[in-house]
Symmetry: C2
Subunit: 186 residues, 2 copies
Amino acid sequence: MKKIRIDHNTFIPMPVTLVGTLVDGKPNFMAVGWVSRVNAAPPCIAVSIYKGHYTPVGIEQNSTFSVNFPGTDLLVETDYCGIVSGRKVDKSKIFDLFYGELKTAPMIDQCPLCLECRLVDVHELSTNKLFIGEIVASYTEEKYLTDGQPDYQKMNAMILTMPDNKYRALGAVAGDAWSAGKKMKK
Amino acid sequence: MKKIRIDHNTFIPMPVTLVGTLVDGKPNFMAVGWVSRVNAAPPCIAVSIYKGHYTPVGIEQNSTFSVNFPGTDLLVETDYCGIVSGRKVDKSKIFDLFYGELKTAPMIDQCPLCLECRLVDVHELSTNKLFIGEIVASYTEEKYLTDGQPDYQKMNAMILTMPDNKYRALGAVAGDAWSAGKKMKK
C-alpha cells in the first residue's frame, strides 16, 4: 500500500462526555472528548482540558470532578456545553443534578452513566492540563445494565469523530475481544 | 430517574489501536484502548500501559512509539496482539512494516492510519505508566481521505466496549458537533 503523510494534528475517535465541576460554588458542565482510563487499580480516568477553559478552575478549587456520559437524546445540550463557556453563560440549570459522596462533583441525572472522581494528580502540558481522577463511584440505572454491568448500547452512548465533526452512535459488533485472536495461537 | 451505584472500576468506550515499538531491536505490537489526545499544540497523544507489559520496555529504550488504527479486516490480528505478550511470542512478522522519520517506531502498512510519536513525557501511576508522545507524523492513504482529512468511517475504525468485550464499528451519525447546540444560544 502507498502511504502518504497528512497533517500530524490528527484527532482520534473520542467518547462523548460532560465533565462536571463546581466553580465558585456553581455547577458547570463542559463537553470533553479527550478522556481515557489511565490506571487499573485504583481505577483512574484522565481528562485533558485546555488551560484557558473555565472547568480547570472548578477542578482545582474542589479537587473533584464528574465524567457524565450523555445519550443521543442529550446531543443538543451536550454540544451546547461544548460551544459556550461557563465564564459567560450559566450552565447550571440545563440538567437535573445530583451529588455523591464527594459532595462537590455535580452529576447529571439525565445521563445514563456518571463517574464521580477525586483528583489525584495533574500533569501539566504546554497547552493543556491532564487531570487524573480516581473513580470513587459510578452511577447508572437498572435499565442500562446487562448482567449487572453498564451497557453502552442501551445508554445510546456517543463517539465523536473529527475533522468531520460528527457525533456517532456505537455501531454493529465486529467481533469479540480477548477471543477472536485465539485462533492465531499455535 | 433512580440512580444506583455499580462497580466503580468502570470502562469507557475506547478506540482500538496497536501500539508499535522496537524491543531490543525487534518490532512488537500491543493492542491498547487507553489512548487519548492530551495536548493541542504541539499535538500529543497519551497511551496508558500496565507497567509489567513488554511494550513499555521498547518505548523507554527508544523514546519513540507508534499508534496504529486497524480496520475491521485486522480484527483477529489486533485481538491476538492484545492476548499474547511479546515476551513469549514474536509479533514482528504479523504485519508488513514501515518506518518514518524517527526510524525506531515501527508502523503497520495494513493499518489505514499510523501516528508516529516521539516520547516527550512519562507520568507514572500506581499500576500503569502514561506515555505521552508528540505526534511527529501521521500516515494514511488517499483512499481513506475525505477532503484531504482522515475519515474513520472509510477506515472501518473500531471501538472497544467493556465489559461486553465487543469490537464495534462506528455507527450512524447522530448529529453535528459545534453546530447542533447553537439552537440553545439566546
